[in-house]
Amino acid sequence: MEYTVSSKAKMTSIVLIVVGLVALLAGIFTDHGHTDQRLWANLLVNGYFFFTLSLAAVFFLAIQYVAEMAWGVTTQRIFQAIMSFMPIGAAALLTVLIASSLHYTHFYHWMAEGVTDPASHHYDAIIAGKSAYLNLPFFWVRTIVFIGVWLFFANWFRKNSLNEDALDLSQIADGVSPNYRKAIKMSVFFLIFFAYSSVSSAWDWIMSIDVHWFSTLFGWYAFSGMWISCMIVAVVLVLYLKGKNYLKDVTEHHIHDLVKWMFAISMLWSYLWFAQFMLIWYANVPEETAYYMVRFEDYKLLYVGTFFVNFLLPFFILMSRDAKRNAIFILPVALIIFFAHFIDVLVMVFPGTLFDHGHLGAVEIGMFFMFLGVFIFTVLRSLSKASLATKNHPMYDESVHLHT
């Protein structure tokens, strides 16, 4: 079952990129000052959002292997395609991080000169206290190791799965593909690494923008955001391919299970968003509420609106079993909360980088569309490179007969 990217899909992604570019340029020329900061902040938002979203696909694949999960085997190639965007996302993210380290932008105040030097008039005691962790060399060691190891695993899982397709099972003693066993082992290593790195990377790249502030929950909050975005993309891709008469082995039962995941991770995200907010609201410690003060004063609609959209829409619309199997219910909810999770990352970044100047305008929409266009193009191209159904996976047949 080979998939070829239709010319319509190619056109759609190109139109998205062009429309995005036009909106971006229009936004730049009508902007009133701070345009460079705004562009960098947008690049960080989009780079982080799309990179971590494709990273979550590696994570979900790894869970499938470790749990020896059978139901999702027919959709494995979808997740492999999503993670093909990782190199581009990483490049966008690294561009911002390099620019910040070279002081082209000042998103990360702890990178500034003299903040840890008691003699300097820029001295900041709180940042100095954190400098054992937040210093440029260690920050770059972490960044490079994290991105490098993630890319290595993504590449390894993809190669391993493609090699598995080429196996001749009759030549193997027990008839079980050795690639599957290897993948389980590698998944364990990946998950152990990911458990630390997913949380720590969110501290490094996002939380350290608001460097005086900290939240122990932040890493999981960011992690659940990337996971839900990844599940949404997977669901939409499956529905799209089913609509084009591909993926014969994916039934409504698989869609039901995928949407269950989307629903559940939505609830996880809402829970973590609220848990972080509620504890800080209740304790009312000035150091902690600073983060929420700026969001409630300048970004109230985006910040609170995102929460309600991401929580209430899936909760009330996708709760029932029938809705989870019906594209008419799934697609609108999926597309709306996908955009809302983008806004979520935007409100993580903007208040600390653009202060009260940030808003949702042509620049933001434009760059989002550009990234989305490139993302769709990359993912579909990756889908077309291999058969949509894996071969020789020991649990493929079990997955075909899934019944929920």
Partner: protein, 174 residues
């Protein structure tokens, strides 16, 4: 013709599922299946209606949420406002974040208990009630189909002949 109840006893869930497909294709109506665990894919084969327990659970959950919110509005805002950590106590809306955990827990409590009690009542299996399953071994390693001769056009003898075509362990009649 008096109604005869035929029990077909199997020792494997998959065999039972395939046999059920065979019997249903031949026009036999299977009233019920007793098994130690849920058999995936059986419900649509024997034509069981989808459970409405989920709808009941949602309603119980919503009742729990409204009860909790009403209760806390009355206790904490209306009747006896308490100053806890300087949190606003003059309206439900401004103090709602502190009520969310309790509301959530109470919603879950009502949904869970309501669902369990409804399920036990509907099955008439509340603690102390006598179990109605015809073969106690269906709680261990046996799988039993219950077929009423009056449910389908076929006679009891024809049904038994059809059952004998499957890998049945034992046929019993009551």
């Amino acid at each position: 013709m008096s109604d005869k109840t035929i029990y077909a006893i199997y020792d494997d869930d998959y065999v039972l599922l395939e046999s059920a497909k065979h019997l249903v294709a031949k026009g036999v109506h299977i009233r019920d299946v007793f098994s130690p665990f849920p058999i995936h894919g059986l419900d649509p084969v024997i034509g069981l209606k989808r459970t409405r327990l989920a709808i009941a659970a949602f309603i119980y959950g919503m009742i729990g949420v409204s009860l909790a919110l009403t209760g806390m509005w009355f206790f904490m805002i209306q009747d006896w406002p308490l100053n806890i950590g300087g949190k606003p106590n003059f309206s439900l809306f401004t103090n709602i974040p502190s009520f969310v955990p309790v509301t959530f827990e109470f919603g879950v409590l009502c949904a869970g208990h309501g669902m369990a009690i409804t399920y036990l009542l509907r099955n008439w299996t509340l603690p102390g009630f006598k179990a109605k399953n015809p073969y106690p071994r269906t709680t261990d390693d046996q799988f039993v189909m219950e077929i009423h001769a009056s449910d389908s056009e076929l006679s009891a003898e024809e049904i038994k002949a059809l059952i004998n075509e499957t890998c049945v362990v034992e046929i019993d009649e009551k």
